[in-house]
Structure formats: structure tokens, C-alpha cells
Amino acid sequence: MLTFLNIAIAGLLLGGLYALIAMGLSLQYGVARVLNISHGEFIMLGALTTYTLYSVAGINPLLSLAIAGPAAFALGYIIHRTLFKRIAASSESPAIFESNSMLAAFGLLFIIQNLALIVWGPETRGYSYLAFPVNVGGALFGANRLVTLGFSVLIGLAFYLFLARTRMGKAIRAAAQDPETAGLMGVNINWVLALCFGFGAAMAAMAGALISMCYPVHGVMGIEYAVIAIIVVVLGGLGSIPGSFIGGFVLGLVGSIVAYFEPGLTLAAYYGIFILLLLAKPTGLMGK
């Protein structure tokens, strides 16, 4: 029973972060149709900003969520309005836009990563925050990790409610289903897509802030999280925000179960699930 609890909670802890990262990419890829390879770089920016604010100014990492999130939103919004909108205008079809925007995102990855290396240097960094054990029904977990789970779920749910209950959320869902028709119905499509890109960047940065509380951070940490995000987005179903949220937890649990037996096989298990799902249900868990 204790083993079960250990595995389950460890899976949820990891899954929470994956879910948050994947929701961000889901908005960018599923709605704005930008396969944002540089998604991980926004995670890195959030993590290093939080680290800097904590170690230099002593600002609580949880407070940094409220700083890194909006800042990344603004950055993402501007990038979409300037870069991706231009690419969309000059691309003949959605397919061409997807490939062109992915190439631009690759460029963005290198630009952001190298700027970060110039600003923060190459060293690995980290800090201790809430590093004490908490007893959950006999299973021990670090307090910082439980806090990350709590905030991941909170941010995820808040965003889900925003999508499901608000007018702006409805516009985003409409754009996800059919951007052209949504545009004909009076949705300002460029604005909505830029919003989605901005929200995606904000979620990445907030995930980065949470990651920095538990894991070492450095300038080239982004890409591995971006890869996980891509797996989760496809797993959950392209364009389905709840799908990404659930997919993140599924992947976290699978990873945790496999890691209990052999940590070396977790990544293999991720890809195993990925392949099985593509064979059995190519549209993903919640895809239509």
C-alpha cells in the first residue's frame, strides 16, 4: 500500500508539471498552429528569472509566478503579432504556415537560448526552497514538490474555467475548431491567435518557475521539456486543452510506475505509450 502511494503521488507530482507545460504548447500548436519548438526556452526563461529574483532579490518563487507569467505573456504576444502573423500572411496554405512557423520557432530557440547563455552564463544553478519532508499517509515527499503540484493544478483549472466560461475562452475554442469560420463569425482571429501564443508562453514560464523550485536550471534545459510537451500534446489530442492536462498526468504516472522498477526505461515507456496510442487512437485521448 505504501509502495502504491509512493508511486501514485510521485506520478502526480511529475504529471502536474507535464500537464502545465503541455497545456501551454497545446494552445500554441493546437490553436495557433505553431509547432513551437522554442516552447522549452520560455520554460527556461521562467526558471532562470525565478532563480535570479530569489537569489538576488530574495523574492519568493511563488510570487515570481505572478511576475514571470505576465512577462512571458507579453513576450509571446509580441512575438506572435510580429513574427508569426507575418509568416501566416505570407504562407499560401495552413500546411505551409505550419512548416514555415516551425522553422521560425527553431530560429527563436537558438536566439533565446544563446541570449540566455550570454545573460546567465553556462553554469547550472539551483536553490533550496521548502526542502523538507512532508508525510502523506506514510509516504514521504518534499514540500516544494507538493507545492508545485498544487500550483500546477490550480493554474490548469483556472485556465480551464477561463476557456469554458468566458467569452474570450469561447473565441479561443472557436478558433481552435475552425479559424476561418470563427473569423467569419466576427472573432478577431489574429488577436485570438496572438493571445493563445501569449498564454502558452505564460504557462511555460510559470511551469519554469515551479520547476526551478525542485530541479537545477540552466540555459539549455528547455529542449527536453519541449519534447515531453510535444508527446503529451499528441497523447492528449491536438487542440484539446483538457486532453493535454490529463495527458500530462497519464505520462507522469506511467513514468513513475516504470521508474519504480527501472528508472532507465522511463523515456522508452513514454515513447512506447506514444506509439501505442498513435496506432490505437491517432487522434489522441480527447481528440475528435
Binding site: 509512493n6 547563455l117 547550472t124 522511463t266
Partner: protein, 437 residues
């Protein structure tokens, strides 16, 4: 529109022709490389040429990871060394080469291999064949050395390595006569010392976790040989994938094993969370060993007082020798603690010192002669470096020249604790508890 378009095209064509003409004119007076397409050396003896050959600089080429995953390692390890060492040598006019009767400054050509081994091999060949560099300095990392060393050997270049080293390279070195490995590694001579000093303190059991790559497999393998030699049983063995995020199953497993020693032979991406998780779960073995990573200043910066008692691999500490104290001042004084690397930096620096000393001794830039000078250095006939008298032992930096092997954080300083005759402080065993709060 048509006429405007045409005139622009004509203008461009005219400009191109003019530009080409200018370029051709500019190239004219310089010695055209096509003039001597044979294999003959540049200073082929003609009837009048009994003068000293002309050369005004030593060109050194490097393929380095300036971007990509390996950049964090390359930028923190060898880069600060050559960026400090070269200006220091050039400030004195360069390296005296008898053949030319004067000091020659060093000029670096550095290409970005984007952390890709394939790109690195192409750039290495480009440096040799197109740029015709006088010397090759090393790429970053063990896997890169494995790929670069045969290329250097093929073209007869001396290669003194920086980051990287492995037991397997020992077997390759006899076929790579121009390759010299500076960094210490598992059985050269870290883990035998680790086992010895811990056994002397009464450690009986060890739990070994290791990253599932060349580095981790090697270290866990050598630990499996060296620990039992000293009467320490390996009671647990767990491999970690490079992308592992949650280390709590491993730490809980280690805790359950009750081992005296916990080892995490992995990189900072794994051993920093391993340290954090140990702290969070209150897992406090008698010895906590991790690396590479624990040896860097950033470990202290990240964990603060919690680093007390953590052990790792090292080379020196302040107090090892006056020359090394001087090196620490040069490299670290007035800079953030994050950049400190107590393991690699002195070896990389010594590698450059060896190179300079060998050129001066050989009095020429001839690779073959310089190789012979380095290879023939011995305890009786050493090369002087920051480590003191230095020589190589079958292509590996002799273990007698290592200022230390095992380090431990004691009162905020990464002290040398092994081997005992080179220690700057005594090993603290068992390690103190994690700080509370």
C-alpha cells in the same frame, strides 16, 4: 516597371563585375595559394633561401560547443581557461620558438560545433585541411575526444585533451601516439582513493546510482571493483536515465538498503535533484558522493550550508601548493563562486602549460618533435606546469602529478580529503546532518 527592373539588374551586374575586378586586383599582389599546388612545404628550399623561416604567429584551431546541450559544460570548463591563459601568454609576447628566433603570439580560430560530434569532426578536418592551423586544441567531452583523437592522429597533430577521459581511452592510447589525456577519471585515480579513505573510516556498504551512459557505466563498474577491494560491499545498484526528473524512488531505495555510502555517478542534472531529494526526504547516509557536479562552486551557491559533508571528485584546493593558490586567485578572485571548478581547471591549465613548455623545449612548431618532447617527459626529466613537475604515463597525466582526487565540502570550502598525503583537510565521516529549516 520593366525598364526600371532591367536597369536595376544591369546596375547589379555592373556592380558585380566591378566587385569581382576589385577582388581580383586585391588578390593579385598577395602570394597566390594556387601558385604552389604541390605537396611541397611552404618554405621549400630554393637556391637563395638559407634565411630563417618567416612566421609571426602560432595559429591554434578549436571546435568547441558554443551552443547546444554541451555548451554549459564547455563554457564552464575549458573556455575560461584558454580565455585567461592565451591573453596572459600573449601579454608576454607569446611563446619563444627557437626555429624562428623570436616569441610568437597565439591566435585562436574557434568554430561552434553546436554540441554535435559529427559537426565537430568536420570542423576539425576543416581546421587542419583548409585553415591549416599550426595546432589543434581539444573539443569538449569524452565522446568528442573519442571521435577527434583518431583525426588528429591521422594528420599527425598533437592533441592534449581537456574535458573528458575514460578507462576505455586507455586501451586506445597506444594507437594514438600524439594524444595526451590530462583529466583524471574513475580508475585514474579517483575511485581507488575514494574506497581507501572511506574504508579507513569504517564504511562497510555502498549504494551506487549511476547515469546510464558511458560515464556512469564506467564509474559504477570501477566502483564495483574498487569498493570490494577495500572490504566495502555494493548493496544496491541503480541506473538513472539522463532525463530523470523524479529521484524519490532511487533515494527511498537507497535509504531502505541502509548503506553507509551513497554514490550518484551522474551529472548535475541528476545529482542536484538527488541531493535535493535526499534533503527533502531526510536521507542522510554517512557518506554522500556525487559527480561531476559537486566539485563546482555552483553546488555551494545552489545548496548553501546543505553542501557540508558532500563528497565529489577534485584536483586541488587552496593550500595544495603556492602555484595552485596563484591559479585560484587568477581564475576565481573577485568573480562569482559559480564558476569555480576544483576538479578540471588545473588539469586544463596544465595541459596548455605542457604544450607551451614542449614548444619551447623542442624549439620548433614541428608536431612530431613536440610530441616526442611530451612523450619523453619523465619524473627525472619533467615539463614544468602549474602542477609542478609534470609528465605523462602512457598518454595519461601521471597520477603522481595529480594534486588530489577526492574532495569534500567542509566549512564552505571544497577541500581535498584524498589521497591523505595530499589532503588539505581531514575527511568528515559520517557527514553532518542536513540543515533544518
Amino acid at each position: 516597371m520593366d525598364t526600371k527592373d532591367l536597369s536595376r539588374r544591369e546596375f547589379l551586374r555592373g556592380a558585380a563585375v566591378a566587385g569581382a575586378g576589385l577582388a581580383a586586383a586585391a588578390c593579385g599582389p598577395t602570394p597566390a595559394p594556387t601558385a604552389a599546388p604541390t605537396e611541397a612545404p611552404a618554405a621549400a628550399p630554393t637556391e637563395t633561401a638559407v634565411v630563417t623561416p618567416v612566421k609571426d604567429k602560432i595559429v591554434v584551431g578549436m571546435s568547441r560547443p558554443l551552443s547546444g546541450w554541451n555548451a554549459t559544460i564547455g563554457d564552464a570548463a575549458f573556455r575560461p581557461i584558454y580565455e585567461t591563459w592565451v591573453p596572459m601568454v600573449n601579454a608576454e609576447g607569446g611563446i619563444y620558438v627557437e626555429e624562428y628566433g623570436k616569441k610568437l603570439p597565439i591566435e585562436l580560430i574557434i568554430y561552434d560545433d553546436k554540441s554535435d560530434v559529427g559537426t565537430m569532426t568536420r570542423l576539425t578536418e576543416k581546421l587542419i585541411l583548409e585553415d591549416k592551423v599550426d595546432f589543434l586544441w581539444p573539443a569538449s567531452g569524452t565522446a568528442f575526444i573519442f571521435a577527434q583523437a583518431p583525426i588528429a592522429t591521422k594528420y599527425g597533430y598533437v592533441l592534449i585533451t581537456a574535458e573528458g577521459g575514460a578507462t576505455q581511452i586507455k586501451d586506445m592510447l597506444p594507437s594514438l601516439p600524439g594524444v595526451f589525456v590530462t583529466l583524471s577519471f574513475s580508475d585514474w585515480y579517483q575511485l581507488p582513493v575514494l574506497a581507501e579513505i572511506l574504508a579507513a573510516k569504517g564504511a562497510k556498504t555502498a549504494y551506487v546510482s549511476y547515469i546510464a551512459d558511458l560515464h556512469g557505466i564506467e564509474y559504477s563498474g570501477v566502483a564495483g571493483i574498487e569498493f570490494p577491494k577495500q572490504g566495502i560491499d555494493v548493496v544496491g545498484l541503480k541506473s538513472l536515465p539522463p532525463d530523470i526528473k523524479d529521484l524519490s524512488p532511487v533515494i527511498k531505495d537507497a535509504d531502505a538498503s541502509g548503506a553507509d555510502i551513497f554514490c550518484c555517478f551522474a551529472y548535475p542534472d541528476q545529482n542536484m535533484p538527488a541531493c535535493g531529494t535526499s534533503m527533502e526526504l531526510g536521507y542522510n547516509p554517512k557518506a554522500w558522493v556525487g559527480g561531476p557536479g559537486v566539485n563546482f562552486g555552483f553546488y555551494h551557491a545552489a545548496f548553501g550550508p546543505a553542501v557540508e559533508g558532500l563528497m565529489g571528485f577534485t584536483a586541488f584546493a587552496r593550500g595544495s601548493s603556492p602555484a595552485l593558490d596563484q591559479l585560484a586567485d587568477t581564475l576565481y578572485e573577485g568573480k562569482p563562486e559559480e564558476i569555480n571548478d576544483w576538479w578540471g581547471h588545473p588539469y586544463y591549465w596544465a595541459g596548455l602549460d605542457v604544450w607551451k613548455a614542449a614548444i619551447e623545449k623542442a624549439g620548433t612548431l614541428d608536431q612530431e618533435k613536440i610530441r616526442d618532447v611530451i612523450a619523453s617527459a619523465s619524473p627525472e626529466n619533467p615539463l614544468e606546469t602549474v602542477l609542478g613537475p609534470t609528465w605523462f604515463d602512457n598518454g595519461l597525466l601521471a597520477k603522481e602529478t595529480h594534486p588530489g582526487e577526492i574532495g569534500q565540502w567542509i566549512n564552505g570550502v571544497f577541500e581535498v580529503v584524498g589521497p591523505t598525503d595530499k589532503a588539505t583537510a581531514e575527511l568528515v565521516y559520517p557527514k553532518p546532518p542536513w540543515p533544518t529549516g
